[in-house]
């Protein structure tokens, strides 16, 4: 593997993404929404809607038993705990997934649509080097944004919750496992899904629409958490991460078979 060639392709792709307003808007808005706006708003929700405190208590009482048993009676502190360690936590996984998904769509289908793939195919980069470069160009920023976003999330949560919690309560172990183990796995899932879709469609619009379907596991996790079917603890996070890594590996293995010059050139 020629790392210089791979690096050149990665840098070119990232530069191209950085200069596209259409791509950068969701890449900025989604992390800001999920990692800054949501934690802030959800922390203050019971206080902001003071008159609705009883309604929140009722909502809390309706949570699945395992969640209630873990957190005890409804107080503002338990609300903050539940929101950040259970309800909002899986949403954070949308960030690496979507970032990888969007960049991969631009790198595979978008490049073909703009007709800039052909000159790449004429370079000395081997099929494997092209493949690795395209993967890294999407995976690295997705994971970096997830890591940085998680750090920002943790700082913001502790700051906004300080008046109630009076201590640094976040992140917990589950969250750390999610960030370091599950987030890269979900980035790989978004990437693998988009690779598979991109090899079968011609345009970026089709690719993003179909590739978005791979977000369903994240949605399933959120719904599972809210309904109590999944209670995310450290070991559960490790297990789910492992499963997602396995699915991503299968998708990428299928994708690499189609990622050959002789196949790609037929779609130009």
């Amino acid at each position: 593997m020629n790392t210089r060639i791979i690096g050149a392709i990665v840098r070119k792709d990232l530069r191209v993404v950085r200069r596209s307003r259409a791509l950068m808007t969701p890449l900025i808005v989604l992390p800001v929404l999920l990692m800054i706006v949501f934690p802030t708003v959800f922390t203050f929700l019971p206080r902001m809607m003071g008159g609705a405190r009883e309604a929140f208590a009722e909502m809390f009482r309706n949570l699945p038993d395992p969640v209630k048993q873990q957190f005890g009676e409804f107080t503002e502190a338990t609300w903050i705990h539940v929101v950040h360690t259970q309800l909002l936590a899986p949403l954070m996984l949308l960030v690496p997934f979507m970032v990888a998904n969007v960049i991969a769509a631009d790198g595979f289908a978008g490049e073909r649509e703009r007709k800039t793939l052909e000159p790449l195919l004429y370079t000395p980069a081997t099929d494997a080097e092209l493949f690795v470069a395209k993967l890294l160009a999407a995976w690295i920023p997705a994971v970096m944004i997830a890591f940085c976003g998680a750090l920002v999330y943790a700082v913001i949560v502790n700051i906004v919750a300080w008046p109630v919690m009076q201590r640094v309560f976040f992140p917990n172990t589950t969250w750390v496992v999610m960030v370091l183990w599950m987030a890269p796995a979900f980035a790989a899932l978004g990437l693998g899904g988009m690779l598979l879709v991109s090899l079968r469609v011609r345009g970026m619009q089709e690719a993003t629409q179909l590739g978005g379907l791979f977000v369903l596991p994240v949605i399933a996790l959120v719904v599972g958490e809210v309904r109590g079917a999944v209670l995310l603890g450290p070991w559960m996070a490790v297990a789910i991460g492992l499963l997602v890594w396995a699915i991503a590996a299968v998708l990428l293995a299928i994708g690499i078979k189609g990622f050959r010059r002789t196949t790609l050139v037929g779609k130009l």
Binding site: I9, K12, R15, R19, R114, P124, A125, T126, R261, V265
Partner: protein
């Protein structure tokens, strides 16, 4: 060792045969043109030579290497200027050249100087840091050519290189091609519809039709082979035009028409009958001031080939 050697290459897209038993050799340092209508097989040939497509059968060698086995090594020595400028609008000209210099593994210490030299050579230096999206068609074409040359390739494919260029830029490009081939021994393969350009630049041309090689040779050879009859301009005493016309009318197969004052144009004459034409005119007392044969052009040969292809219905 030839730069390119194709032997009995066959390629299909599904049921459609794109190349049929194509065999040709291009020598190092040669300027070689691939001519043919859209879909004749020019782009497929270029892609096979660069390892982007695998032929169904036949042998392909580029500088002795197989593009399918040693694709990276082959592409390190080749460059392709595609028909439309396939540049990323969001990159600047400088970024484009630097990125491709690195992809072609140009030595790190040479990347900046090589980029700057090409930007200057192709007249893009002043807009080197502007995004390509704002460039005119001609500037994009020049940048595409600069990109193709960034690693100083031994074998350069130019697909319709002057499409969209103004006459000055076209002339510069022609000079660059000549300089690359004659001055630096590089091999250039032109894929073009521009027959005048092919005739002006090429050492040899191959005419493809429906994936088959219809003709191969120097432009002159092809012209003579495919268009053996010439046109001749005659300048004579204006008072003798009628006499000359009637003399020429007695010669089989020739047609004559007035060209301008004191001149006639004779069509359909074989090269070996020109002395007979001159002798008959002089013998009839016509004062012949000048006789100028017009060599058949590659254009004449090309259309003769296409006509022949249509006539047989197969293009072969």
């Amino acid at each position: 060792m030839p730069a390119i050697q194709l032997e009995h290459v066959l390629h299909r897209y599904g049921a459609t045969v794109a190349l049929r038993d194509l065999s040709l050799t291009v020598a190092e340092g040669e300027v070689f043109s691939l001519l043919g209508h859209n879909g004749a097989g020019k782009t497929t040939t270029v892609r096979i030579i660069n390892g982007l497509l695998a032929p169904a059968s036949g042998s392909v060698r580029v500088f002795g290497l197989s593009p399918l086995v040693d694709g990276a090594a082959v592409r390190r020595r080749t460059a392709v200027l595609t028909e439309s400028p396939t540049l990323d609008d969001r990159l600047t000209a400088r970024e484009t050249l630097r990125a491709f210099a690195e992809m072609y593994d140009v030595a790190a210490q040479d990347v900046a100087s090589r980029t700057d030299a090409l930007l200057a050579e192709f007249g893009i230096a002043e807009r080197a840091d502007d995004r390509v999206g704002g460039f005119s068609r001609g500037m994009k074409q020049r940048l595409s050519l600069a990109r193709a040359l960034v690693h100083d390739p031994d074998l350069l494919f130019l697909d319709e290189p002057t499409a969209g260029l103004d006459p000055v830029a076209t002339q510069q490009l022609h000079q660059s091609v000549r300089q690359m081939a004659r001055g630096r021994g590089r091999t250039v393969v032109l894929c073009t519809h521009n027959l005048v350009e092919a005739q002006a630049l090429s050492d040899r041309v191959a005419v493809l039709g429906d994936g088959a090689l219809l003709a191969l040779g120097t432009p002159g050879e092809l012209a003579r082979r495919m268009a053996p009859r010439l046109e001749v301009s005659l300048e004579l005493d204006p008072a003798q035009l009628a006499t000359a016309t009637s003399v020429i009318g007695t010669l089989d197969g020739l047609t004559v028409s007035p060209e301008r004052a004191g001149m006639l144009r004779v069509a359909g004459i074989a090269r070996e009958r020109i002395p007979e034409l001159a002798a008959r005119l002089v013998g009839a007392g016509v004062s012949l001031y000048r006789l100028e044969p017009h060599e058949p052009s590659l254009t004449d040969a090309y259309f003769a080939l296409q006509h022949q292809g249509n006539g047989t219905g197969s293009g072969q």
